[in-house]
Amino acid sequence: MSVSGETRIGRNYVEGLRQKFPAAVIDEAWQTADQVTVTVQLGSLPEVVEWLYYDQGGWLSVLFGNDERPLNGNFAVYYVLSMEGLVKSWVVVRALVDPIAQEFPSVTPRVPAAVWGEREVFDMYGLRPIGIPDERRLVLPDDWPEGLHPLRKDSMGYRDRPAPTTDTETYKFINDSKGSTTDVPLGPLHITSDEPGHFRLFVDGEDIIDADYRMFYVHRGMEKLAETRMGYDEVTFLSDRVCGICGFTHSVAYTTSVENALGIKAPPRAQAIRSVFLEVERLHSHLLNLGLASHFVGFDTGFMQFFRVREKSMTMAELLTGARKTYGVNLIGGVRRDILKDQRTATIKLCGELRTEVAALVDMLLETPNLAQRTAGIGRLDPKVARDYSPVGPLVRASGFKRDIRADHAYAAYPGLPMEVHTADGCDVLSRVLIRAKEFFDSINMIEYALANMPEGPILIEGFDYQPHRFALGFAEAPRGEDIHWSMTGDNQKLYRWRCRAPTYANWPPLRYMLRGNTVSDAPLIVASIDPCYSCTDRVTLVDVRKQKSTTVAYKEFERYGRERKSSPLK
């Protein structure tokens, strides 16, 4: 889409770049009024990203590689910065990587937030980030053959599975502690969310000195699947299934990315409907997390009550979309299902009930002495660490940053909805719980307001032209942070590249710093406080640094200890 010069939001960043790094900027291309892709010299990539990040109020939303050899002979890396300084816009820094050298200068030493993304670029494309402090694999398993990089266009089909190269786990967990510690493996499934992830806690007695973890045990290869097997319109339904909780947010992010790339504007009524469904999703997700918060401080009655009330938000989803989860409502250019009068009346009634019932439950939870005792000052995310790692959602808001994509880059119908970005300065588990509780009531208000002020008109645009090799960003604020999708259309009605980043991806790297200095019994709480979204483990390994001894603790036992804090499994 061509964007005329005057309406471009974020011109100042590009002009600033041209002034500060006159030799670096090669090209700029505008995808929408507030999205610009700036191609820079490979050598100045770290400086450019650092300047935008720290000097101009940017946050690193996602970074990814792309195999553009069939298009221009090179690989490319893209660093997506959400500019949240004076002017709110998106700046994507792109650099071409030589197909022979296959190297690029790492940004991680200057901007730590880039670490996971650069490790993934190496796994998926074999492009080596020079100077990255952590060169381990991120996504690929230990038994994956060296030199096979699945997202390269010439590497493999989505169905192929290479033969395993090793039977043993070769992954090295990083331990930065000075003294000796004990290893506490927590995993392969997480304790709160019952999803796979391997945590290694390095403890001295009861204190966590350092922690490392490994995810991607259930990497589903969705990006490869979307690029090779599915049509671009069918990917909408695949994106619905990225997450079992915030799937609709992903499908909104995906459809807007394609809409932005092709210059399609979904009708206002469709936008309003999207906003309503997004908030319905937030309702049930926040209630789930509030329930789990109760559970983990030993207030199981609260857990039961939250889950009982949560059922009303599930009914609301079923009523409005025809399914409790995976709404399947989005299409490129709008939505498939209108909200009719009966549904509206029933939803507004449910909203009222939810408001009173949850208000009572939240009061009760806050009055429970356990809550403050167990969560205040626990799992501190230092604002400095938060600034360095670009976490998202209630996690970053609880550390004092006013980041919410619904406000910063308002999409769907959010510009016209009554909302407030809640922040807290506690930086701890308690603040995150409180922010979720506040957001819950905001969501109810927004649903009611949107239903009362629904614009008239069509809900779906039809008859647009598909153009290959267009790309743009799409985004949506999920209950646990922003979902960012970057789509590039390709030949044959298929995506050339789809990068989908779920919010928890951005929240894992700083977790290590949140665990440090807490006790083992706090670990499940801290992990749960980021409301993680992955598949979980039922065991934990504890490593005693002093005794050089490793213990594996059954999940039930670890969870029990987290709640009762009696008879430590370490003794």
Binding site: T236, L238, Q305, A323, T326, G328, R336, R337, A360, M364
Partner: protein
């Protein structure tokens, strides 16, 4: 503490009697897709629309049949099939109790007879699809006898039609081009 007890008391019994009593779902709930084979013309639109590849269409040229197949194990209940079906043969039902003991029970099939080409005898489209095309002509105002006269033409496979048209230019169907003002 007292408030908590009051809440619990007020909540009463939250569990339902399911599976001993039916579990109601909201109107418009998207459950198992159901095919009405009498309406289906086996055009295959649903198999193209299905994002999950749960629907497929297989042709057995030897037997002269075409089989529509739904594999519920893949179905994501999105309802795209329902949207694209030209004859409303396929619709989602509120049915959600789909667990089965054997994998084979997750398949549903409907077999349709193919129409042999009037010229070469090779099956090319389903019998019902040809009927449907004729019915559409009648519906749009063509007298029934004239439509019936077109049957042989409609029941000819595209390859044979092309050959026929080569031999006799007067048989070339120019209608659509004239309507669009392209000639």
């Amino acid at each position: 503490m007292f408030k908590l007890f009051k809440t619990i008391l007020k909540a009463g019994e939250a569990t339902t009697k399911y599976p001993f009593a039916p579990f109601p779902v909201s109107p418009g709930f998207r459950g198992k897709p159901e095919l009405d084979p009498t309406q289906c013309i086996s055009c295959g639109a649903c198999t193209i629309a299905c994002p999950a590849n749960a629907l497929s269409m297989g042709t057995d040229a030897q037997a002269g049949t075409r089989t529509w197949e739904l594999f519920l194990g893949r179905c994501i209940f999105c309802g795209r099939c329902e949207e694209v079906c030209p004859t409303h043969a396929l619709a989602l039902t509120p049915e959600f109790e789909l667990a089965v003991g054997r994998r084979e029970d997750l398949f549903q099939r409907a077999t349709f007879k193919l129409e042999p080409c009037a010229e070469c005898g090779q099956p090319f489209a389903s019998h019902k699809e040809v009927d449907y095309a004729l019915a559409l002509l009648v519906q749009s105002g063509l007298p029934a006898e004239e439509a019936e006269a077109q049957r042989t033409h409609l029941a000819t496979c595209p390859a044979c039609k092309r050959k026929q048209n080569l031999a006799d230019p007067s048989k070339v169907a120019l209608g659509p081009y004239i309507n669009k003002g392209m000639l």
